[in-house]
Symmetry: C2
Subunit: 201 residues, 2 copies
DNA sequence: CGAACACTTGACTAGAGTCAATGTGTGTGG
DNA sequence: CCACACACATTGACTCTAGTCAAGTGTTCG
């Protein structure tokens, strides 16, 4: 959707489907920085960070809307509440990055994977997408590998471990989580960082 | 300075010294999320993310100022430029978190350490603190370990490797970098993510 | 049908962790 | 002023998690 290094004059919104942000390294490896789902104001940061420092890509078919920066700035100028909501949105993004740093830096491969799945489950739930224990999330194991900083081979093994432990079931992009709290325990997941508490605007 | 879970009504600024953000995990391990230096508006995010999801701590002696949220909001309401500058600041923080995710997720211990040191060197330079090849940065090896997601023992070994390669010299919080571009090469460092280009307010 | 892609599995390797001991400098109190 | 404690740094020996290499097995799709 938007490439690393690009200079943009409009922000984009994910209307349907999924997307993710990634950085490519000179040595060919890739780090996935975040996953996005329908309803995410994916690129608000471009408002003041005009040159992209990473790439935005969709995860399968998706519908993306673009809004000129000028229009957003005008809307913000007219509404303190809107400003607060938008700024807050970018701050939550940052909070999620912080949690990812922690996830990748401190947890075992097993917990890391569980954590990423928990996050997606929670965020989808918060948005009312999919059932509480069953949702669509079309990632390949290679995506999960690059998101967690482990290799695809190891993702495969660890994911099988999670499956054998009865914590997740997945099949072609369809995920089932029979017992979310058990998965959270395995992940060391604490949803506080998602800041989904009532807005204090 | 501010503890995880706390609810604040003022933001803080680092006037002198250094600080860092960290998350503690239930198992006792700790992840350092960012380092801050004199002049950083350390806690602007608290403006709209009132409950802290991590802890802010100083690195040795430091001077910290507090500004009530109400005062900031008032100032922002009166100046579009100020709003842009502040928002931008939090967005750069997020950009740095993204780079850290990449750093920890994809690079070797050797490059990771080099990368953290490069970042500090660049940010100090941008702010005119210390000489280009010589600065003060009072971290212990344990701090570096928790920042990069490796153990203190391994930090010690890797840091010795960097020292033997002639890339860094350090002594009780004093750092010397004889050849920054060589260190950058070892780190795979690209300063683009710091977004220090001229402000486009 | 065959190419491309995702997933799986096994065997081997290596980078980093763990455990444990020792060194070194600094500050404090008797 | 020395003894001691403490925090930080260093080193060695061993272990283990995760990476690498390589060979399959589906499965989809033109």
């Amino acid at each position: 959707v938007i490439c690393d290094g690009a200079v943009t004059h409009e922000a984009c919104v994910l209307l349907r489907g999924f997307a993710f942000r990634q950085k490519m390294l000179p040595n060919g490896s890739r780090q996935i920085l975040a996953f996005h789902m329908a309803g995410d104001f994916v690129d608000l940061q471009s408002l003041y960070l005009v040159r992209m420092d990473h790439t935005l890509e969709t995860l399968g078919a998706a519908l993306v809307g673009f809004i000129p920066h000028a229009a957003i700035k005008q809307a913000i100028a007219g509404s303190t509440r809107l400003l607060a909501a938008f700024w807050r949105d970018t701050l939550i993004d940052a909070a999620i990055f912080r949690e990812w740093v922690t996830n990748i830096g401190q947890r075992s491969a097993y917990s890391r994977l569980a954590h990423v799945i928990c996050e997606v489950a929670w965020r989808l739930k918060a948005r009312g997408l999919g059932a509480p224990d069953h949702f669509r999330f079309p990632v390949t194991q290679a995506h999960l590998a690059d998101a967690t900083g482990i290799t695809t081979v190891h993702v495969n093994r660890v994911l099988n471990g999670l499956k054998k432990a009865g914590l997740v079931k997945y099949n072609g992009g369809e995920w089932r989580i029979p017992d979310l709290s058990a998965l959270e325990a395995a992940a060391g997941f604490d949803p506080a960082y998602l800041h989904s508490e009532t807005l204090t605007v």
